[in-house]
Structures are given as C-alpha cells and as structure tokens.
C-alpha cells in the first residue's frame, strides 16, 4: 500500500478522531488524533484486517506550549508504517494508556512518565523506570533545571582547567 492509499484508508476508518493527517519523510504517515480517542484509534489500527499494525516505538515530547505523545506503528504483514500523535495540555498531561492493547508499551510508557511526567491512566505499574524513585522533576521537560545535589551527592563538576 502506498502512502496516500494508507492515508485514505486511515481517514475512512477513524475519521472522527483525526485532527491532522499528512505524509512524513521515510515513507511514513503522521496522524494526529484527539487524545480522548487514542484507545479506539489504536484498536482499529491493530485489529483492522487491512492494517494489522503492531507497535514499534513510543515517545513523548515537550513542545513548550503542550506535550505530545507519539506512537510509531509498523505492520508486519503489510509492511507499512504510521505515526500516531496526540497532543496533551501543558498543565495536566494525561492520556489513556495503550497498555491494554499493546502490552509491550508498559515499559515505554513508564519511561515517558519518568522522563516527561506524562500520566498514563489505566497503566498497570506507573512508576519511575530509569531514574531513582526519589528523583525530583522530569528531565526531558524543556524547563527542567539540573539539580546541584541529589541526596547530598554533589552533582556539580568544576571544570578541571579553570
């Protein structure tokens, strides 16, 4: 299936939830959806017999004015790609977890929660993954300030040559 065919197909199957759909470099298709509809869109993408997508990657972005979560999907039988994007507001970034549909997203969403502070409702084990549990803040946010101390450990490294 070519890029534009896939766009048509996705437009038809989940028309109400789509905010924006466009081509992306590398034969990809970018679909921006409403964040409330994420579960239904994912369900269609996974179970539609002509799509049969499985998930490949997930990330979150701090866009300054809002947050976005991005899911990269890939269809093993049909070999096409799609990128699903949903924007969240900056005050309370919260979205439904897709763990119930794609089990492998468990750790990916935990990582996003850890590094960006986006809450995934319905996630089975939403705890910090990479950082220690008592770490403050979410480092991948653009307004993150790197702490000088962590548990009395000095994080500052003076320049050797000064």
């Amino acid at each position: 299936m070519e890029q534009h065919e896939l766009i048509e197909k996705v437009k038809v199957t989940c028309q109400d939830s789509i905010v924006r759909i466009e081509e992306m470099p590398n034969d990809d298709v970018l679909v921006e959806i409403k964040k409330e509809e994420i579960l239904s869109v994912m369900d269609i993408l996974k179970n539609d017999p002509e799509l049969k997508f499985s998930i490949s990657n997930h990330l979150g972005v701090d866009n300054g004015e809002n947050y976005a979560v991005i899911y990269n999907l890939y269809s093993y039988p049909f070999k096409h790609k799609i990128t699903v994007k949903a924007c969240l507001d900056h005050e309370h970034p919260e979205i439904d977890s897709v763990e119930s549909i794609f089990q492998g997203m468990n750790w990916f969403e935990r990582e996003t929660y850890d590094l960006l502070g986006i809450k995934f409702t319905g996630h089975s084990n939403l705890k910090r993954l990479l950082l220690p549990p008592d770490w403050e803040g979410h480092p991948l946010r653009k307004d993150y300030v790197y702490p000088d101390f962590y548990n009395q450990i000095d994080n500052r490294r003076p320049d050797l040559c000064d």
């Binding site: 470099p25 590398n26 990330l59 972005v61 794609f102 492998g104 990582e111 990479l130 991948l140």
Partner: protein, 374 residues
Amino acid sequence: MAELVSQEMFLNMGPHHPSTHGVLRLIVQTDGEIMRRAVPDVGYLHRGIEKIAERVTYQGFMPYTDRIDYVSAFSGNLGYALTVERLAGIEVPEKAEYLRVIAAELARMGSHFIGFGAVLLDLGAVTPFVHALRERETYNDLMEMLCGARLTHNYARIGGVSHDLPEGFKEKTLKFIDHLEYEFIDEFNNLISFNSILVKRFANVGVVSAEKAIEYTLVGPNLRGSGVQFDLRRDDPYSIYDRFDFEIPVGKGKFGTVGDCYDRYWIRIQEIRESCRIIRQALEQMPEKGEIRTKIPKVFKPPKGEIYVRTECPRGEMGFYLISDGGKSPYRLKIRTGSFSAMSILEELSQGVMVADLVAIIGSFDIVAPEIDR
C-alpha cells in the same frame, strides 16, 4: 511438632552480578531454586543521552551514538547518520555507502561474538567465550585500522564516513572472513553449540511465541528467534542493503520449541555467516575511487520536521525519532533500542524457571545494559 514455615526468598541479583551484562538489577523472588518472579530494575547506566542530544550540535552528537550500544558502536553511528540525512535530504556518495555496510556488518559480527560468547560464559563455559573474543580482537584491529579507535569508532559522519579504506584492510578483512566461514564457526559449533549439556540448558527454556514477541516489541535476532521472518535490511532496506544477496536465519526449533533460548543463540551464529557474505559482496562491488563524504556546512541546520528511521542493529532495530525545529541541535531525539524491549519481557518469562535458567534467558536476549538505559 511445630509446623514448618516456608517462606519465599527475595534476592537482589545485581547491580553488580557477574551475569547481568552491564549494570542491571533484578529483584528476584525465589522458592528455593525455582523462580517466582524476577522484576528488572534498570536505570543504573542512565546517562541521559536523549537530553544531551538536545544540547549538542547535530555533528557533535555522533560520538554519543557510539555509547548507546558500545558493543557495536558503528550501528548507532549509522542509524543516527541515516536519520539526519533523510531528514535533511543529503545524498551519500556511493563509496561511503559501501564503507558503511562493511563497517556495520563487521560491527554486527563483533557484537555477536560478545553476544553468544557471554551467554556461554554465563552457562559456565569459559573457553568458547575466550575463543569468541579472540575473533572479536581481529574485528577490533580491523576497526582500528579503519578509523583509529577500537571500541567507540565514531566512524560515520552526516553525509558519509570519516576515513577511506586503509591499505591492507581489504586483504585482512577477506582473510578474517575466510577464517570465520571455513574454520571458526564449524569449530565453535563442534566445541560448544552441539554439546549436549548446552542443548539441555538452552532447548525449551525461555520460550517466546511469535505473537508474544511482536506484542512485546521484540526486535532483531530475538524476534527472528521466535520464527518471525523479519529483517529491516531486507524488508525496509536502508543504505544499499538491497544490492546484496543474503539470507535471514529464522528460529526453527532446532533442538526444542520455536522461540527458545537455543534458537536465539543459533540465529546469532548463523548471522555471522550472512554478515561474511555481505562483506564479501560489498568488498567486491565497492568502487575503487570516489568521494567518501558529502560536504555539509559547519553550522548544520536541517529543515524543520519529524522523522523516524529504524536500522537493523545486532540487538534488533535501533530507531531514531528525530524532531527538528530548524535549529543547530535536535529538538527531541528518541532512541528506541532492542535491549529495552527485550528486558521488558523478562518479568513474564521468568515465572517458574530456575535461577540458572534466568541467567540463560538474560544472556540469550543479548542484553547490553547501557542500551536499555541510554
């Protein structure tokens, strides 16, 4: 007589445990030798590479990609370079593409030596590990000849590679490949792969079905070990992989069930042969003379946009999701690695196996801890 109280035991496996392939902690709940659950606790090697990417220039991030998966440093280089090139629409000279393929396949072999060597070490067989490392030593020498560093190569550049082939490299590589194809692999298989103890340890242990492998986003050799015929080099060709003739080994349940540890181990050994084939073809087809690098401006600013590029690394696909705002450094760079998803399936796989099997399962996934944490 008082009733005996039996209690499950919590063990901290790691962060410094001989077989956790880096710094990785597993909280293990055991009933004697039988595992109830093993919960991985990752993050001990988290270096914030994705945050660093937002602060350095596009060219300046290249050395950091060595350190995502330092066992096969060039694979990270290649993935990142491809991502930026595709976003900015940079053409790579033909010779550079060949050099990249050669380096990437060498890196794949070098990584697999560690991959199957280390799992054998976990099973107590030290000699095969050292024999595998002996071959990796030649790979290190070759890479040192090629780009001057043995571990963190930093060989790829945006728009090409940093060095042309040095003198004597081709002959040495061909000799190395011949040695691998005709001597080393057969000998290694006779030494350990067909050993009935090893087969007993690996067969029917840690079985991942094809559906579960896709569900848990397993990639690369781990996915193929479950019987899924999928290789990005063939199914979504990048660079010039479509010019080469090679096969994709898939787990067939050689000694047990499809998707067990033996299949994952066996695939890595077979992939060495395929890499040898690719390198041989690439060395033959490579043009003698030619540019190795497209000139890009010193202050390099790709256009605004988003892109997701995946490459087939030794540990499965490494995906770079790059968001550019048109500035000097990436706005957001997400690195998706194979070990990360392999690690997330461990909790489920570890239920009901023995302590010794857990070690075999971790090893058979060929996990490199810094790749999990980034």
